[in-house]
Amino acid sequence: MSSTAKHTTLELHGHHDDHGHHKETFITKYIFSQDHKMIAKQFLVTGIVMAVIGMVLSILFRIQLGWPEKSFPILEAFLGKWAEGGRIKPEFYLALVTIHGTIMVFFVLTTGLSGTFSNLLIPLQLGARDMASPFLNMLSYWLFFISSLIMVGAFFVESGPASAGWTIYPPLSALPTAISGSGLGMTLWLISMVLFIASSLIGSLNYISTVLNMRTKGMDMWKMPLTIWAFFLTAVLGVLSFPVLVAGVVLLIFDRSFGTSFYLSDIVLQGQVLPNEGGSPILFQHLFWFLGHPEVYIIIMPALGITSEVIATNSRKPIFGYHAMVYSLIGIAILSFIVWGHHMFVTGMNPFLGGVFMITTLIIAVPSAVKTFNYLATLWRGNLRFTPAMLFGIGLVSFFISGGLTGVFLGNAALDIPLHDTYFVVAHFHLVMGSAAIFGMLCGVYHWFPKMFGRMMDDKLGYLHFWVTFIGAYLVFFPMHFMGLDGVPRRYYAFTEFAFMKEWLTVNKFISWAAIIAALGQVAFLYNFFHSMFFGKKAVQNPWGSNTMEWTTPVEHLHGNWPGEIPTVYRWPYDYSKPGHHEDFIPQTVPFSETMSSNLPHDFEGNVEAERIQQEWVKTHQAEKV
């Protein structure tokens, strides 16, 4: 074949691609969509549904904890044999705790958060027409959807869902006959998680490749918004840590179903000695937490990125310490791989090794504190606009501080001896990664809702939602610190049997009321979200006066995002309230030649010619003034 022939084929092919997108049916547009914006919305709606399910589960076990001796006939009506006589059964309580944890950690805060905002913002903020592979992107969503169905479907099997805790430690999870939840429910949990990991990995690969290869002209890495840095590093963490969980889960599946003994040894089950010998359950903990710890940063980092963007925009100030923010994200990402041992201080770990893990853990406080101070410094003397998104962003900072402080206690190998497996831990992680991350996610929803649906959410309902949730979350989780300090263990079904725990019953009742009220507060959000989707006020192109590129696209969604050529980027994303400019924001796509009155010497990054032109302009301009 000659080179001319080669050329012709290419042209024909390019042409074919051009026309491929025109025919859109309902199915290709809303169901099997390959458009990143639609996929983002699919992730968001699925994530919200999963969050509601996870929340309802938590209310169910809060009812048990608050009123352990009372019977609620309505529960039996809904849950049947799992709440005979109107009281939740102990087995079901364990299942509730397990699935609540799994859904919240993986389905809401990993995929609901990253899946939504990475998909929406990576192409839009970087100036790409779509993801590196739109097909794999679609596949990622549908694997996630199927895995969600299986996870929730486990509630409908005879023996109930998995009940070994979201960390599914063997041997409990490895022996199908150990408890009812270790039977079919556990198998479904494993299948669901394998699909989930596949979905999450495919997503992460796509995000990384898009960020590295598909940025528009002028968008070098140091001009990327902090959101993109956060999504990028989150995806890197996912690629490096999820495969290790796969390794751990594969061995667990072999132990469950193929008679191997990777994790099993010396077990007597219901009076029978099991043949499995020689295994080590600690091995699973190592494999699990090698993922598990980066996982908590997979959850919090996108939330931190979203908040950076929203706080800078609504403070009308450049983000304080952009480079420091990026380096602290990188620092957190690297450190997250060498701290997993702090989840295992009390497994008989060598105290020297414990000391090493303790030091690496405490070092994480440094980049985290850098981020916190930078948020505060950005807010300081800003021209604050308290939009609902901004409130949720500030809420994240609050939770990140109050929850992060207790991390210093738990990261200490000696203090962890009395504190581990108590409510102190529950309080710590629900504040620092639970509440903080969900606030980051809600912050993102309120901020980018106009971009996603072309309409605005209602502010008043947003404020109501914020205050109920913010106060509710503190009322729920703050008292738990004191329970934990008193030694009240987590995951217990009831605290009625031990004299020293009885005094905490009233506190539990208080927490349950706070949880119920906070949960009701979410109705304001759900109504606002779904109602505004159809009946909200029409959004303008750039409602928040923001600098990033997604606001340069038309309000009506197009396949390919920009109608003509993709705009070029000239400046960093945080030129807010720049002295000398007539507006308090300058989008990234505005060249310096159009903002001569506000340019500063360091804007030109050492470009001598540009500096000369600028100086000349300043001279003539001053002469004109005189």
């Binding site: 024909l12 290869n213 796969v246 061995l251 080590s280």
Partner: protein
């Protein structure tokens, strides 16, 4: 306009090729997780460890897969030089060598089993680990065979050369990776036998 399309296709193919490299990273991490698990487990007690000499079949299979990497390389060269006949031939050869690898490994398990080294109900899970390594790797071989078939079919359907080369490159990156991966696993096992 046509030129622009080619440019966009090219950057997009570059991004897609990068996806493959990233996948290799995550796949390697999976094996790193398994082998570290092996090390942590085996170090736990003197009763653990492979405790046998690896069957020599593993060595033959290594030869087969190294040879297949060579034919894969030749296929890519042929494809880029527009010699499509030899491209298909070398792809087919690579495919066959992949199958040969599979069969020889099968024999190796039989040898292990005949020595009483079983996957299930083995008190020394270090030995079960050998099977997990090999099977996980074979799953990758299956995926690689799928890619080879995809590349051959693409040529049969006469897809554009830029896409033909893309498929070839994707396939060869993956195939060389599973070759190197096997060598890593084999050396790892040899050092621990």
């Amino acid at each position: 306009m046509a030129q622009l399309n080619i440019e966009e296709t090219k950057t997009n193919l570059k991004a897609k090729k990068f996806l493959m490299w990233l996948f290799l990273v995550s796949s390697f991490i999976y094996f790193a997780g398994l082998t570290s698990g092996f090390i942590v487990y085996t170090a736990g007690s003197a009763n653990r460890g492979i405790k046998t000499i690896l069957p020599e079949e593993f060595m033959y299979s290594t030869a087969a897969i190294i040879l297949s990497s060579l034919t894969m390389h030749l296929a890519v060269r042929a494809g880029k030089g527009l010699r499509f006949g030899s491209q298909q031939l070398f792809l087919a050869l690579t495919f066959v060598l992949g199958i040969v690898f599979f069969v020889i490994q099968w024999k190796a398990w039989n040898v292990l089993a005949s020595r009483g080294i079983m996957f299930s109900f083995n008190k020394n899970a270090s030995q079960s680990f050998v099977y997990v390594f090999v099977w996980s790797h074979l799953a990758h071989i299956l995926a690689g065979l799928g890619l080879i078939v995809g590349a051959m079919l693409g040529r049969v359907r006469n897809i554009a050369q830029i896409r033909n080369v893309f498929r070839l490159e994707i396939t060869s990156i993956f195939w060389h990776f599973i070759d190197i991966l096997w060598i890593y696993l084999y050396v790892f096992l040899l050092l621990n036998q």
